[in-house]
Amino acid sequence: MDEDTELSLTIAQIIQRLKGSHLHSQLERHAKECLHQPEIKLESLKEDVRSFLKTAGWERKLQNAVYRELHVQVPLSHPAAPPEHLKEPLAYMRTAQASWEKRVLKSLNSMSTELGVPLARKRPAEVQMELTHKWNEMGTDEPDLSRFRPVYAPKDFLEVLIGLRNPNHDSREDVSARSHWGLIQVPLNVQDIPQLRQTYSELNLSTGQLGIDDHAHIHPDLFESEYFQIGKKVIVEQDSAAAQQYSRQGCPTGLRADLWALILNSTNQPQDVMHYEQLKAGVIHHDLLVDNLIYKDVKLTASNDDYYFVFEDFLYQVLLCFSRDTAVLEHFKYNSATPPKSYIQGKTGNEECAVVYPPNGVIPFHGFSMYVAPLCFLYNEPSKLYSVFREMYIRHFFRLHSISSSPSGIVSLCLQFEQLLQTHLPQLFYHLRQIGAQPLRIAFKWMVRAFSGYLSTDQLLLLWDRILGYDSLEVIAVLAAAVFAFRAENLMEVTSLASAEAVLADLSTLKVMPLIQIFLFATAI
């Protein structure tokens, strides 16, 4: 397909998606209303209406909406390609993802049978009343969760990834010093430092960064004050694309909430609030089995974290609604995963009685709540917090727990991490391998959670600034490698996996931007 056809197809797709959206009806309404304005002349109707909409800020809103669509559009492909190829082009990845999903669903179903808890049931009226009153303090509930186990933990998922093989690629040929020492044995294309330097050029040593150049002993006039003013201008302009570009050098603490909302085009309009209220009503009416998994996860992870325990109630309010949000199903068009289906009792196999379960198609795993926890630092209002989280999930986080060939997918990130380590710290990698401490076994849990819960919050937010700014999760793999590089000296002394884990157990004092910058731009190649 040539470029022009691609472009017109993309435009057509986006128009299709925006048609009938709330923005569309608002534009139409305002265009109609402006006809009463004296400056609109019949001879130059089109131009006048256009410039009116522009000055009123609607062109900018439309721009932001189009920009948002570009982020979540299904990749273009050959007209004859089946939809599953759009989700994931490589057949062996699709198969692996499908069998992983079967396992997970089986585990969920057997839990349901074992415990005698149905996947979904309606709440009795008194329980509904009680829940409505307790909505803002669900954390005070102490339900008996001892019988529930998380459906899977990141290490189970890692075993699946380790077993991935491309049937068309005979890796036995490569037994040499050039062979891959790590656990991931699939030949995906990942960027090495020279290419990363190009892609992440704004992180180079001579460009100002938040997380480095806002340090206490550097005078704010050298970078910080001016950068802050630019950030304020970006917010006033309400330009998504500018906000995304700005975020590459970090977001000031006081502006971050607005900047992220702008990048994600989360405008928190009345219809968004209404949507959230509907989800909340859904939570009150029905009890889902996965709700217990969510409770358990929050109690095990976020509630035990010094910095996030305060937000326990918010986490329930967001995650319980998230499970019921069918709008999330949209993202499965470009996600290699497929939402699990459940059948009404007794009618297994009958497609007419199939229902997606949970309604949003995402089964939470151990640590899932940590995707939401850091956002609680930025947003107070549950509906705003919810819409920012949902957008972040369908743009980025879903890739961390589905098997795909995407450069931001967890498989590529793991491979990239291992290759960066092998190429630039071969002695360390070799040593760790010898003592039975494969680096990925330690770094995997960091990457699956995008480092949430491992770094201190301010550092984590600086990292997520770059994820949003570059619209890619690659920085996670780079950071993981940089952490190993930083602690290399200590790691060379250890003699077991347990001691290697101990050296890397506490990341809370790390400063992420200097680590990333030095690794990318000061490593000799």
């Binding site: 603490t253 006081g254 909430a257 305060v310 326990e312 630092f377």
Partner: protein, 440 residues
């Protein structure tokens, strides 16, 4: 994070005081003999300071870290040589007993209003309406009747750790309480000795996800005449373990945020911890409200510290041997206005977690650095470790005030509460050995 009994805490990253090599080099510096009456973190800090030796009971000491009861019994019989230091002022209770603090603040404010005017006096609007009982009972009743439906809190004037505190809305509650035979002995005792205060309860505290918290801020005073005070960069926010709600004013656990009270609450989980470092809180507030609002808030907190000290400056008996580390308890309301709840002369140094231990260790180590028994400071420093000089017989500014900058109007205060505490680097630079080190 593992909660470990205090004796097993390690101060990882701390290699003791920064001048570890110096004591050997310098001939003739006497070692510092110290007496320590407390069992918490301070004992570790003193023990690990090079050249400091503990003396027991009757031995002569150069430095004394005592508790207030020892001070009360012994201060008047002490003869201290010039170099000797002790960690309390004789009548510190003018600031730290709730009824006296309020009396001093009110008096100072009234004088200020009379002499200068309302504007200046309005800087003193940081303490909630308070009355000492029973001496001001009639004044209290007048105010109580003027604001029906408001909630008040009754506190023993001299107790700490949340003992004896309760909330009430009706006068009947106090009368009942006075008559109540089931009150503990110590409560009856206290009432007879006339040391309770009734204070307007702040009904709209700033909540983080439904939880109330208060702030602990540390101020070190090395002299009252002239007034010299240092503000520590670290501090913490203490959270209540249950969600805030005015409807259950009898739930002691929810309204009081002292860690001592929280520890007895049914759902207290020590692993969970109920504290945030003040840097964390500052970042959270900045993310929610923007930089300007938070800077204003912190300026107002500086103001609370300085004004409260000014109000007792003429009352406290100055003594060059004395210094004092105060723990300020501050509560924020929903409008991000800080309120002074009380000042503690003996803030608890018992740590609740490893992180807390490290913070208190730093605090105490820097306190000893400022007191400077070793004579390493010139006296002109604006910063020592995590302490910033906040008041030195006048406001202290970050910028150097000289002929060039004199006309400029944009001076910033030399305080950094809630900011980065890179004390190790600063101490290394500050405490470089220099020739002719003066003896103690």
């Amino acid at each position: 994070m593992v909660f470990v009994p205090m004796s097993k805490y390690k101060t990882s990253g701390y290699k003791g005081s920064t001048d570890s090599g110096k004591s050997e080099e310098q001939e003739g510096i006497r070692c510092v003999r110290y007496r320590c009456g407390q069992l918490s973190t301070i004992k570790d800090v003193l023990r690990q300071r090079p050249g400091w030796v503990e003396v027991r009971d009757d031995g002569e000491w150069d430095f004394n870290w005592c508790d207030v009861s020892w001070l009360r019994e012994n201060f008047d019989h002490l003869y201290m040589e010039e170099h000797v230091r002790i960690n309390h002022f004789r009548n510190h209770y003018e600031l730290t007993r709730k009824n006296l603090m309020v009396k001093n603040l009110k008096r100072y404010r009234k004088n200020l209003e009379r002499d200068i005017g309302r504007m200046e006096a309005s800087r003193w609007d940081f303490f909630p309406c308070t009355f000492a009982l029973p001496s001001e009972y009639h004044l209290f009743v007048e105010e109580f009747k003027r604001s029906p439906g408001s909630t008040w809190i009754m506190k023993p004037a001299a107790k700490s750790q949340g003992k004896g505190i309760f909330l009430f809305r009706k006068l009947k509650d106090i009368i009942d309480w006075k008559k109540d035979g089931t009150r503990s002995e110590e409560q009856k005792d206290a009432a007879q000795v006339e040391s309770y205060v009734a204070q307007r309860y702040i009904e709209n505290p700033y909540l983080i996800n439904g939880r109330k918290f208060d702030l602990r801020v540390y101020v070190l005073v090395t002299s009252y005449a002239p007034l010299k005070a240092w503000l520590y960069r670290d501090g913490f926010a203490r959270f209540s373990s249950s969600r805030f709600s005015l409807s259950s004013i009898h739930d002691k656990y929810m309204h009081l945020t002292n860690v001592a009270v929280q520890k007895t609450a049914p759902d207290y989980d020590p692993v969970k911890g109920c504290k945030w470092q003040i840097q964390q809180l500052r970042r959270y507030l900045t993310a929610k409200h923007g930089r300007e609002m938070v800077e204003t808030l912190f300026k107002e907190m500086d103001n609370i510290c300085v004004c409260s000290l000014q109000s007792v400056q003429k009352v406290i008996i100055n003594d060059k041997h004395c210094f004092e580390l105060y723990g300020y308890d501050i509560l924020l309301d929903q409008n991000l206005k800080p309120w002074l709840i009380e000042v503690n002369a003996s803030p608890s140094h018992t740590p609740s977690s490893q992180e807390d231990y490290e913070m208190k260790y730093r605090l105490l180590e820097d306190t000893l650095n400022v007191v400077d028994m070793e004579g390493r400071l010139t006296g002109k420093e604006k910063r020592v470790g995590g302490y910033d000089l906040m008041w030195n017989d006048g406001p202290v500014y970050r910028e150097d005030v000289n002929l060039e900058t004199f006309g400029s109007s944009c001076f910033t205060a030399n305080t950094h509460l809630g900011c980065v505490n890179d004390r190790d680097k600063q101490l290394r630079r500050l405490l470089k050995p220099f020739p002719g080190q003066k003896r103690m």
